[in-house]
Each structure stands twice: as C-alpha cells, then as structure tokens.
C-alpha cells in the first residue's frame, strides 16, 4: 500500500516540478506556451509511469519477486530524470499525449486476444504433458474413468468416453426442453403478446436469466431429482437419486431465458416490410410466423441453438451439485452419470500435485471443452453474420 502512495506522490511532485520547469524555460526564452498547461505536466508523468513499469516488468520477468527495493528506487529515479529531460519548450506534448492514449487504448483492445491465446497455449501445453504420460487412444477411446483408483497400487485409468456421453445426455435433455420452448416463447413475446403482458413476461425472463447457476443446482439437487425418483419408482423402476433427467430438465429451464432472449432479438430484427408484405397478401399471424419470419431467421435460430449448446456443455455448478462422480456409459436418463465439468472440478479441487496425471487430465478435458465451444461459437457467429447481411443492417 505504501508503495502505491509513494508512486502517486512522486507523480504529483513530478507534475508540479515540470510545470515550474517549463514555465521557467518559456520565460527565459521568451516563448509562448503551445498547448494547455497541464499537458506539459501530464506528458512527463506518463513517460515516467510507462518507462518505470516497463523496467519493473522486465526486471521481474527475469528474476524472482524478492526484496529488490534499491533497484526499484534506481529505476524510479532514472525514469523521473529521463521524463524531465525529454521535455523541451519546442516539443508539442499534446501530440505525444494523444499518441500515448491511443497506444494505451490499443493495448486494452489487445487484452481480449491475449486472453484467448493464453488460454489456448496453456491448455495445449498441459494437455501435451498429459499425453506424455497417458496414451492418446486410451483417453479418447477408453470406457473406464477412475483417476484415483480405489485399490492402492492399481493404475488409474483415463478413458473419457463415459464423461462425454454423460455431458451429451444432459445437454440433449436440456436442449430438448430449452430450444422448442425458447423459440415458441420468443415468438409469443415478439409477435403475439399484448404490450403490457410483453413487459411483464420479459422482466420475469430477465430475472430468471440473472439467477446464478448455484441456485438452479440447489433446485435440481433438493427438489427436482428426488421428485423424479419418487414419481418413477412408484411405477416399479429403480432410479438413482442423482439421475440425469432431473439435472437435464433443470439445465433446460436455466438455458431457456438465454435462448429466448437470443431469439427475441432475432425476430425483432426481421424487417417490418417483410411482415407487412405478408399481412398485405392476407396471411394470418400464424402463417406469417411460419412462412415468413421463421424461414427468414432460420440461420439465426440455428446460431442461437449453437450458443445455447455451447453454454449447456460448459455448465458447471448445476451438474456439480446435481450429479455424482460415478462415470457410466449409458443413455438411460434415470441412471447416475457424470460430466466433463464435474470431473474437472473434482480433479482440481483435490490435493494432488499438478504434475500427477489427475490434474493434468483436467486440463486435457478443459482443452477439449474449449475447442468444442470455440468451434460452436465461431459457427454461430458466422450464421449471425449471414442473417445480418441478409437483413441489410450490418
């Protein structure tokens, strides 16, 4: 905390010192000041901050972070001296300041790319380390998943098929609920509902979309799954209390507002001229919806479905709470399954060291998940772009 104070105070000192310095220079040489006074102060301060932070970053990227107060102080003083002596009455600080601001904004925009790249690189290298220990085919084709083998001495096995089948089962149950309901509800909201009802419904949907996923997980865990178990066991079947159906249904309810809001934006962006033309030809509302609006926005609906799918695949808290850790290669929705994200959480919140295959397997799963969602997202963006071009509001 004191370090920050020192830096701020020295910036202020620098600011006032340079203002005085430039005034003195201008007075001595009989010069008019070229720009607003505080630019002369801000210019050396920004030079100081930039050179100081570049020095510190290079220092700490080569050495470990230990007590190196003297070197830091040296850097600070030299940066201050540099920043004062770069300033002459002849230069135009405003021009330079604007260049610095532009460069800073450019760096901000680069952060998004850096984050994506660093995610990709880190996951890739950790996955490579994982595959040095576990063969490729075992991971993608194996059907047995036991990262911490129960019997001491037995080798852990990393066959990820049951995990991906579990994820597939849950997401398909969820999407089977979310996609049709989402499309129909958004049609109702944008095309059919009276204005007042539209306001109420959209505000309820907004609240439901903002509810955290832990809450849905709690619902699935304490209400829906036990209820399904009770209902089905009444008919004489055996049902796991952590069944896939309960988690999948709640997942569908969770994604529904998201899907619905995507579709609402889409149906709103269908040009009014298209709808008017359809009405003018004597079509009813339903016919307009099915023969004009839906076909026109079909690629958009597909992209909304892809985005919902990528969201459902990556959903974590809900499945961590509602599902168990038992991997099973099954398509029976009444049995307990596990998903990719559940296993990632359980592997990385344990006490194993990062070099053992367990946590590395979590990175490998994460890499596959990242690639899948990346492909889905890119596909969705491509489709959205096509719709925009078609409607002419790109």
């Amino acid at each position: 905390m004191t370090d920050f104070l020192i830096i701020i105070l020295s910036c202020l000192a620098l600011y006032s010192a340079t203002l005085g310095w430039i005034k003195f220079l201008c007075y001595r040489r009989n010069l008019e000041r070229r720009t607003v006074a505080h630019h002369y102060g801000l210019f050396p301060v920004s030079i100081f901050l930039i050179s100081y932070s570049v020095c510190l970053l290079t220092l700490f990227s080569f050495t470990t972070l230990e007590d190196q107060g003297e070197i830091c102080l040296l850097f600070g003083i030299s940066a201050g001296v540099l920043s004062i002596f770069t300033l002459r009455p002849s230069i135009n600080p405003r021009k330079w300041l604007e260049r610095i601001v532009k460069a800073l904004l450019f760096c901000c925009s680069g952060v998004a790319i850096i984050v994506t790249l660093s995610i990709g690189i880190i996951l890739f290298f950790q996955t490579c380390r994982f595959f040095q220990q576990i063969p490729f085919s075992n991971f993608f084709l194996g059907t047995e998943w036991s990262p911490t083998s129960a019997i001491i001495g037995a080798r852990p096995s990393f066959g990820s098929l049951p995990l991906f089948s579990g994820t597939l089962l849950i997401t398909s149950i969820g999407l089977a609920l979310a996609i049709p309901f989402g499309i129909i509800s958004s049609i109702y909201i944008t095309m059919i509902a009276p204005k007042r009802a539209r306001k109420i419904i959209t505000s309820i949907f907004e609240v439901a979309a903002g509810v955290p996923t832990v809450v849905y997980g709690f619902l699935a865990m304490t209400t829906v799954s036990p209820w399904i178990k009770k209902l089905i066991e009444g008919h004489g079947y055996t049902v796991s209390s952590e069944n896939a159906l309960g988690a999948g249904l709640v997942l569908g309810v969770m994604i529904l507002p998201y899907m619905s809001s995507l579709c609402q934006d889409l149906f709103k962006s269908v040009p009014q001229a298209l709808k008017d033309a359809s009405y003018a030809l004597g079509a009813t509302t339903t016919e307009t919806i099915f023969k004009v609006v839906l076909p026109a926005s079909f690629p958009g609906v597909m992209s909304a479905a892809l985005l919902s799918l990528s969201r459902a695949i990556g959903e974590t808290m809900l499945v961590v709470m509602a599902l168990s850790l038992t991997p099973q290669l099954t398509a029976n929705p009444f049995e307990a399954v596990t998903t990719v994200t559940v296993q990632m959480v359980s592997l990385l919140t344990g006490d194993q060291s990062f070099d053992s295959p367990g946590p590395l397997a979590a990175f490998a799963l994460g890499f596959v998940l990242f690639l899948i969602t990346l492909i889905l997202n890119l596909g969705a963006f491509q489709m959205v772009r096509r719709v925009r071009r078609q409607f002419g509001n790109d």
């Binding site: 984050v115 995610i119 309810v253 994200t341 990175f363």
Partner: protein
Amino acid sequence: MIKPFPNINRRLLKDRLFKAFSAGLVLLILSLFLGLFAGICWKGLSSFFKAEIVLDLSFSKRYLKSTDPGQEQALNYNFILRKALQKELDVLPQTLEENRELMGLVSPTTDIALHSLFQKNPEILGTRRQISLRVSDNVDQTLKMKILDFEPANSLLTETQQEWLETLKDQDQIHQRFNTSFFTSSDSRDPMVAGIWAALIGSLYTLMVTLLISLPLGVGTALYLEEFASKNRWTNWIEINIANLAAVPSIIFGLLGLSIFLTVWGLPRSSPLVGGMTLALIMMPTVVVSTRSALKAIPKGIREGAFALGASKVQTTFHHVLPLALPGIITGAILGLARTLGESAPLLLVGMVAFVSQPPLTPMDAATVLPVQIFTWARNPERGFIENTAGAIFVLILILIGISMIAKILRQRFERKW
C-alpha cells in the same frame, strides 16, 4: 366465379389455436419459474428464525477452572449447562449416553457463546442469570417440522429427548427468535450459528477487484473499437475474440486463473484478488458490449461540433463523448456486476472453497463468496445447512434483484433521447 378466401375459417381457427397454444406455453414457463423460486424463498424464510431456550444458569465461583488470578478466567461452562438442564428437567443422568442425550438439546457451540458473554461482562461471576441459548440443530428442525405438520421418516431426536422437549415447551421456555446472527456471523461447523457475513465481505472485495480491472480494460477496448480504429482485419479479429470470450465456459477461465495467477505469478490462493482477476476476464466482454452500444447512441453531431471548435480526437472522446455515454456505461457495468456476483465455477478452481470462519481484512486474505458459500452448505448432509442454503439463496436473489432495479432506475433517470 372464384371465391376470394377459400378456407378462411379453417385458417383463422388454426391461427387462434396457435396463439392460445403459445400463450399457454408461456404461462406454463412463467408458473414454473415462479413456483420454483417461491419454493426456495419459502424454505429460506424459515432459516431466518431459530429456536432459543431460556435457562436459569448459575455462574458460581465454584465452577472456575483455575483460581490463579494471573491466568485468564474461564468457567466450566458445560458443567453449568448440564446442572441447569438437570434442574429444569428434573433428571439425573447416570451413564455417558444419557449425558450426551441431555446435552444434545442445546447447540454444541454454547460453551463458546457463554465464554464470550463472560468475558464481556465479568460481573456475572457469582450470580444467577436467565439466559436464552441456541438449541441444537436437531431440536430446531424437529420444532419446525411440527409447525409445518410434516412427519419425518426417521426422527432426529431420541424418545427421551422428545419427552424433555415437550416438558420444556409446556414450561414456555422455548421461543422462536429472529436469527440476526445469520447476517452477522460467519461460517461454522454448527448450522445453528453459521452465517453469511464472511461470504458477503468476500463477495464485496472480489467484485471490487473485478470492477477495478474490467471497467478500464473494457471501456478502453470499446473506445478503441468505436472511436479510434478503422474497420480492418485487426478490429474484426478483436471483435470475434471478444464475442468468443463471452461464450467460453466460465470454468475455462478458472483453469487460466489457476495456471497463470496462482502457479506462474504466485499470487495467494483463495484470495479475493485472484478470484476478482479471474472474474474480471469473464466480465470484460459484457462491459465492452454495453459500452459500445452506449457510444453508438451518441449522435455524430456532438463529435463534429467538438472537431469544429478545434478539439483533437482524444479531446473529443474524453471531454464530450465519454461523459455523455457514462450513464449507459455505468448501467451496463452494474448489470455485468450482477451476473459476476453469481459466478462460482471459476472460483472453485482458484481455491475459494476453503472453510472461512473470519471475514477477510484485505483482498489478499483467504475468503469465500456468497454463491460458493451456498455451494459448500448445500453439500452438507445436515438438515440445518440445507435450510441455511435456502436462506443464503434468498438473500442472494434479493441482492441481485436490488442491483438490477438500481440499474433500471439509473437508466430511466439518465437516459437521453437524441
């Protein structure tokens, strides 16, 4: 002659049927949402009330643990408690088992509560006081089930305990009190005294870090894309990246935080600093999108007017465009913050699941956040924790609704139509 509309009646019927069908479906969805959340709120409300038992305790000097004046004075609280219960119920337990049954009526953390009471007012030494104490979790749950007329499959209390409970109730010594400690105390092993204070403070610190990082970055990116950059391959690439980051599963960001912030940079594990930095990456795309739409709403005339008066690009942006866009930016940031408040998956990976019984003092201390607290409580098998979970969810949802109301009011008040 051609009839103008051959099967108009059938078409109109179809139209009406579809409208009714979709309306029914939306109604079903709405009732589903309302029903689910009403259920949680109903469950959560009961956690705000906990039973207390009034006992006549004697703080006699005989029960002092040591008479040495140099040492910190402490009483044998469990002994005092047992004496009081024995007197009240008129029993004399013989075996260890019976003793445990008797002490099972009050909360296991009672001795800690009594000790802090004794330290605050040492003058109670040598007096008798009527003091109301927390009952144990099992007793509380049994009492609540009686109120709700709900018979559990297997009883939480033994038969003798139930008889004692009836006696105490007849003597009017058990009351339901509003549970203020749920808001002022922190996590505990005992559901009767566990609260959400530490989690709230942890959430506050985490969100502060998130806001401090993601707001400048997001606004900077949006300003660059909207005001400075020309449309070329680089900006296109940035846009795709931002849209992709908004849709990448949040747990992937947890992996990033784990391997860069914790392993490479060596920042403290389970601290709000690391959690906030991870969440900032998740929140940044939201800020960028809302800031861009706020900037797009500012008419061109403002910029051209500034240019005409001789302002440079940077001056135009920072003196005219940005202040006008500020209400929109702030509204977007608040809504993004509400979404970030509920995020928990990436925080699990950076170690914010630790048991935290003290609110963090700085952003570098170990902390937990409200949704993660909900997660850890929900995994507890004890009934009292399930009830606490519902209570914490109730609080969380109230906070979220409050935040989005504030954003809505801000938008209504400061929105300008050009």
